[in-house]
Point group: C2
Chain length 547, copies 2
Amino acid sequence: MLGLMQEHPLMISSLLEFAERHHGDGEIVSRRVEGDIHRYTWADVARRARQVARALDSDGLAFSERVATLAWNGYRHLELYYGVSGSGRVLHTINPRLHPDQIAWIANHAEDSVLAFDLSFLPLVQAVHARCPNVRKWIALCDADKLPQDSGVPNLVSYEAWMGTQPTDYAWPKFDENTASSMCYTSGTTGNPKAALYSHRSSVLHAYAAALPDVMCLSARDSVLPVVPMFHVNAWGIPYSAAMVGCKLVFPGPALDGKSVYELIEAEKVTFAAGVPTVWQMMLGHMKPANLRFSTLKRTVIGGSACPPAMIGAFQDDYGVEVLHAWGMTEMSPLGTLCTLKNKHMEMSPQDRLNIRLKQGRAIFGVDMKIVDGDGQDVTWDGKAYGDLYVKGPWVVREYFKGEGGDPLVKDANGQGWFPTGDVATIDADGYLQITDRSKDVIKSGGEWISSIDIENIAVAHPAIAMAACIGVRHPKWDERPIVVVVKKPGAEVTREELLKFYEGKTAKWQIPDDVVFVDAIPLGATGKILKTRLRETLKDYKLPGL
Amino acid sequence: MLGLMQEHPLMISSLLEFAERHHGDGEIVSRRVEGDIHRYTWADVARRARQVARALDSDGLAFSERVATLAWNGYRHLELYYGVSGSGRVLHTINPRLHPDQIAWIANHAEDSVLAFDLSFLPLVQAVHARCPNVRKWIALCDADKLPQDSGVPNLVSYEAWMGTQPTDYAWPKFDENTASSMCYTSGTTGNPKAALYSHRSSVLHAYAAALPDVMCLSARDSVLPVVPMFHVNAWGIPYSAAMVGCKLVFPGPALDGKSVYELIEAEKVTFAAGVPTVWQMMLGHMKPANLRFSTLKRTVIGGSACPPAMIGAFQDDYGVEVLHAWGMTEMSPLGTLCTLKNKHMEMSPQDRLNIRLKQGRAIFGVDMKIVDGDGQDVTWDGKAYGDLYVKGPWVVREYFKGEGGDPLVKDANGQGWFPTGDVATIDADGYLQITDRSKDVIKSGGEWISSIDIENIAVAHPAIAMAACIGVRHPKWDERPIVVVVKKPGAEVTREELLKFYEGKTAKWQIPDDVVFVDAIPLGATGKILKTRLRETLKDYKLPGL
């Protein structure tokens, strides 16, 4: 027997309709590519997103056709998030930090019909347009009078000329909530990129979960700064959750330097910010010498890669900002775990609490996880035993776009499909996850595993070290041994011997790296993660001392 | 094109599986009918709910058969919430405050096959069992050795004997998320009761929404006391949201007097409590003379009926507890609006904030609302113009069980069905709802409407008045005129003239009641609401002074 509740599909457009009706004058503030500040409201987003939908209709774009973006976090990008998905097309956010060859490859693989870009990415568009024959229209996210002349890009229009004259009324269509809404390619370091294809249902469910008190805790009282990019995994779902709760949104545009981000937080009374460690590193680096303070910022979610313990400490102790460690991935929309405390922890000492906060956190309802050994058997949740991390849930991929890479899921005894994350992790008795390493980055030394991340965290805790990457190198006796590749802080000095001595007492003796390699820079991927494959390539002729 | 995310139906059993895996040692504390305190954990709830499902299987209960409960808030009731719905049967919570005739009527109408009851309701069961031929088994929620002997109730078993010996393993079935999970009859004052039939989908979506920061703001750090009964509209969804976030749950059982509730809050470090005004009135009445304070309680949601402004003030000013006004109904699962502030209100004066807090609040994402005039045309959201309140959303009924009452929805120009709530309300420009009255309680005087609730609120603000009810009586010239029926506080005195004088300056002159009727008690319905129909009946021979 079915229940007798109303049938409303979970639609991305409903989020915007809600924000317009119930939070119409809620502010959206954007730093634009031009450097100035733009302000308007949720009612304006809704009106202009309807114009975007109208413009796509005028262009004859079919249901489910792909509209790509190469854009910073800003109001026009937000309008595309809603106008494209809301009208039944698929929003394909492209990471502009990818190599032009990769961008051309994924634009073709996705079969993008339209590509909208911020003017800062014109050179990128100029480099790829000839290789993207499927793109019928290129849209520069600017006013008509800012449209570049003689760009060489065919069928180029300005965003404002394209959508600005469209009627502002439009009835958002209702359709199957499992319809594809948006897509994002993984920045896989091996093989071709693969795309996660999100649905309206998965996006709305994720939006509910992301706003929960134990996740990002978003309310109508917040002023929210997503520093995490809208060009990668939906900016952690903030564009959707923000409409759901009607909060103020503050977009940083391209200005991600410490000064710009700090000033925006202060000027717009930001209460909550989300970002990757590198951005916060720059901001704290700007604040410390000038002895600056936050007036309104209360909490920040840090994810994208493991957050150095020192940064969590600095935010909390020096600035009174609560740091929530997060973990997720492109294939998970992206949120999987957030590190918030439980009722039983309320009377713990601050140090014990900090030890919990260093972990990646607990599963959000909608995500289940497990760790398994090489035979696929469950590994105990004791915070010590590690295993390959598997996840499942309504906002986890079941396969990639066009079936790339085959069936990624691993079935359990009950026939349930789990997605193998490629991470190695421990889970403690309270359900707190700790990523030990990427499966492929773990160093296998004498039958034991060494976490490259542990080795890196110790190195960056040294006052002279700015960045560190640990990789394994071949060893005739131990199979692999770890070495640590480091970048020194400007003006700071430390010797190989001093750094190795620094490890003593901080990790088991056999886990201490065999060598230190000083470099000027460590290669980072498009999402700010260390490119260990590149590093291994660069160091392929490296020889361990004494061998 | 469909998205490629994993397919997981939204199942009530998933909530419990999540709580067991990720919050297994989270506490559930219950005051039992016997008066003692029972403690166990989410892992225990999960284990025993599986035993309940097994016992229902053993009894041969078919998919979607109804299992009724007549029970207080407690751990066994929670086990039934999950064991019954999770295994595909329908949980039918019956309000024990209904008249036995009504209980027999709805048990037959629902075709309940099993009825589980707390021992305090044995007399009720004895009064109705002979009239409920469909009920094959009566389950007393007690240990085997507490089973009443010679009760006269056939097929009576103790809960523990019934489920306690079942195996503890059970694989929760997956099925269409629109399957009926539970039902609740409205306590309609006219006509036969009608049942809302909730689904797994509506219950899980409501659970997400109910836990949001702008709604009940539930996290794993909370200790939650639902004083709102599990026998009526799912205790506002707390049994589901609590599992979703893994908080501590504290059940008051039958002890709803001020002393018991206060002591439970203190003993179990309750941070959040939800209840109707009458319960809080009793608690504050207990606390004030003894000058008691709360140690941990931070916020409370008050709903069920309009909360007197004086009570909001007392909680906030005298006890530092944030009061959130809520509004909902059986047909809405039940939550519709919660009164939390917006970003723009952050710099308002405390008095202006309090004026907002007196309203019923803003819509939660998932609920849309509108006010319409007699012609079905939208009424302006200006906080002054009133209209009939209509709602829609995935946890709002589209029809009643067995089609009772026909199609309740009213279609708009776009073919969308709206549920007419039977309330008259204003909505202000910021989307804050204020219930002016029940459509049928509004007093129509000389073509203008007078809100009976406004008249009652002024009366109870008088220090000598304990309770007030305003009804309209026939008037040859004005059609209707308001009178106010009042109960004085013990030992307090006030005359008719003094009370009428008290209205001056507090409302328009023509809205001041024509008379005051002093009574010893005002009749309340099963959910604590004033029974105005009964009052009108009692006063049917009443004559206005001077007529």
